[in-house]
């Protein structure tokens, strides 16, 4: 028979088994940082990423990390000669930092994309724009997350 005490012990055990173990990993921050850098370098390659031109719009204080409205606008004429080829979005603390890549072109008219993301923890959100001349521009916003996505909803 399952007593209340046994149930509690079992529930705590399963809780600890999941992401909590990852949370207690002393190298987790270093691992997540490496994952972020790997994700960015996979997209950007060796090209330098400069700050500017990109405007990343994220609320600075996030109550619920499960749906965070994010919009990215890039200062570009969006002509055939000079346009934004792609917009990449990353978050610093997620188990998988890559959020989206949007491919656009001169037919977009305006270089703007909006979506909703999951953000696991307080940290940076990074938007990188790839221009038609091969340069990369970025904007970084630090956000505070009170209810995180990904981690604590390990139980259903």
């Amino acid at each position: 028979m399952t007593t209340r005490r046994r149930f509690l012990a079992l529930a705590c055990g399963t809780l600890a088994a999941g992401e909590l173990r990852a949370q207690l990993d002393p190298n987790i921050q270093a691992k997540r940082k490496a994952a972020l850098e790997a994700a960015i370098s996979k997209v950007v390659g060796d090209a330098p990423v400069r700050a500017g031109k990109v405007k990343l719009d994220v609320p600075p204080l996030i109550d619920n990390g499960n749906t965070v409205p994010i919009s990215v606008t890039v200062d570009s004429p969006m002509s055939a000669a000079s346009h934004v080829k792609a917009i990449h979005l990353f978050t610093e603390k997620n188990p998988q930092p890559y959020v989206i890549t949007a491919h656009l072109g001169p037919r977009a008219g305006r270089a703007t994309v909006s979506t909703r993301a999951r953000i696991a923890d307080t940290g940076r959100v990074i938007a990188i724009a790839e221009l038609s001349d091969g340069t990369y521009w970025s904007d970084t916003v630090s956000v505070v997350v009170t209810l995180s996505a990904c981690l604590e909803d390990g139980l259903i």
Partner: protein, 106 residues
Amino acid sequence: MARVAVTVPASAKRGEIIEIKTLAQHVMETGFRRTQTGELLPRDIITEFVCRYNGVEVFRVELHQAVAANPLIAFTTLATESGTLEFTWSGDNGYLANYKAEIKVV
């Protein structure tokens, strides 16, 4: 059948920038969550969204686990000619959703 919702203006002036908002109903299961018994829930997400304007691809998005459930994608495009805007979402486990919208350009 997968449910989607798209807003496209019914008509636009030639050369006007129109805003398109799309929503697809999807759990976007990350593959990081566990059940009560500790088993990992397999990843189940939409991986790609494409918008075609009269058959020509004008916008494409690659999605990953960090996109929220029921992904919203809003973007703009130039109204060049009357015709059909076709939206396609594709993802894990053979997920495929399609939506077509007519636009009249004057």
